[in-house]
Point group: C2
Chain length 151, copies 2
């Protein structure tokens, strides 16, 4: 069996993003992987659950901490379809996540290098960042959602 690649895990994050379909939430999905296994998933639930904290990464980090039984997620890689916002990039740093892999770049709020770069701001942990994995598919999810919304 071939070893799974970043794009394979991103496909799982894309599947997770589609779970927003029933609510009015922007389709963003996230999976957290440790030792090759998906230990947590999360999708955007801001509208569904009426909470400012309901981003895909926050939901996935909450689930991962519960799975691992620790606030420390060292050794984990987080895959998310859209570049993390300040809250989520801060949560990734607080959880000591090793690597962040994102799909689409976010010029409005992306804090993994686009609007600003949290890896160069002197925080006490610096995750490795890989952007643009399955970028086209991740962007398509968002553009289709916003096009439908405008109709």
């Amino acid at each position: 069996m071939r070893k799974l690649q970043h794009s394979d895990y991103m496909d799982l994050a894309i599947e997770e993003a589609k779970r927003t379909h029933a609510s009015q939430d922007v389709p963003i999905g996230c999976v957290i992987v440790k030792d090759g296994c998906v230990i947590a998933r999360g999708h955007n639930t801001r509208e569904q659950n009426h909470t400012a904290l309901g981003h895909a990464e926050i939901n996935a980090i909450a689930a991962a901490c519960e799975t691992v039984g620790s606030w420390r997620l060292s050794g984990c890689t987080l895959y998310v379809t859209l570049e993390p916002c300040p809250m989520c990039m801060g949560a990734i740093i607080n959880a000591r996540i090793d690597t962040v892999v994102f799909g689409a770049y976010d010029v409005k709020a992306g804090c993994a290098g686009t609007l600003c770069d949290f890896c160069r701001m002197g925080f006490n942990h610096t995750p490795q960042v890989i952007g643009g994995i399955r970028e086209f598919a991740c962007k398509a999810l968002l553009s289709e959602f916003f096009e439908t919304l405008r109709k």
Copy 2:
């Protein structure tokens, strides 16, 4: 009856911080105020609940969203004993909180002007920030905690 001042609400945040006493959590407390009323409280529960998301502000914002029934906390002021970290300052921005009042400055992770200033980074919401309210009492909480820990 006199109108409550920032320092009065900060005293409530200090009381909330002391609720970490039973766990090994750093004593940080938060209250969220709307129209003069405290609508939510939160203290640091990272160690107690084994979650990287367990900061005082995150717990208070979760409670406030539940109280208000919306992710949008416009018209609210958040009082916290320590300057917010990137995750919490990001959550404050995402929740559209009007004003942040903090006690002690945080040179290691403070994102409301000390290590960096999230109000000057081009995000889509800019809260007003007031720092140093009841600073001495807020700092004393932390220094006493860390002194006891070292013994």
